[in-house]
């Protein structure tokens, strides 16, 4: 399940609801990863643009990859502004055994960082500034910029 919210995530509500949803599915391990906006370089917060169609297909591809391992994935992300010390991202894995859960959460979070179509902006002095130097080109980028 992929959930998008306007503004900061309600972390207790999400972690608790996901735990309850899977409580009778006989998973032995539940690992959520919660990402929170850090106060640094004088920012007031971050802001996010999300392109939902491609995010959804990226997420569904991950769900399909996790299924043969017996694992289930969930994700929540913010759209728009999230202030410092608020949370903007939760990814979670449920699996029968701990090894699959530990390996899957790591790969899922790292691929999210590299591939998910979400753009981050610093909120600073009332401006919304694209965080270009912390952003990663999606694999295969540059197709349109090749020598012709």
């Amino acid at each position: 399940m992929l959930e998008l919210y306007d503004g900061a995530l309600n972390v207790p509500e999400i972690l608790t609801r996901w735990y309850a949803e899977e409580s009778s599915n006989n998973y032995g391990a539940y690992i959520p990863f919660v990402g929170t906006v850090r106060e640094e370089e004088g920012i007031e917060g971050l802001s996010f643009d999300v392109y939902e169609p491609i995010l959804t297909s990226w997420f569904e591809a991950w769900v399909a990859k996790a299924a043969p391992l017996g694992a289930t994935l969930k994700m929540a992300h913010s759209r728009g502004d999230v202030l410092v010390h608020e949370s903007s991202y939760i990814a979670a894995v449920f699996s029968p055994k701990r090894r699959v859960a530990l390996e899957t959460i790591e790969a899922f979070v790292e691929d999210f960082k590299a591939s998910a179509p979400i753009w981050k902006y610093d909120l600073k002095n009332g401006q919304r500034l694209y965080a270009r130097d912390r952003s990663t080109p999606i694999e295969g980028s540059g197709l349109l910029g090749g020598k012709s």
Partner: protein, 73 residues
């Protein structure tokens, strides 16, 4: 006609143009000074599926999306 849309931080309104493949889109955008800084770092999707070759054919009504470098989380 195909529609070209620019995602995230690219401050540019959608374009429509005639194109038989992505190669035609690449040619058109290279002549757009505003876009030159983005082309090297953007991924490309056709109808919301990422594509890997300029030979990707396009047909009337297709949507081409440019995705600049990402940073979720």
């Amino acid at each position: 006609m195909v529609t070209i849309e620019f995602l995230g931080p690219i401050q540019k309104a959608p374009l429509t143009l005639e194109a038989a493949s992505l190669r035609d889109v690449a040619e058109a955008l290279k002549n757009d000074g505003e876009m030159s800084q983005w082309l090297e770092s953007c991924a490309v999707a056709v109808n919301d599926t990422l594509v890997a070759t300029l030979d990707t054919p396009l047909k009337n009504g297709d949507k081409v999306s440019l995705l600049p470098p990402v940073c979720g989380g």
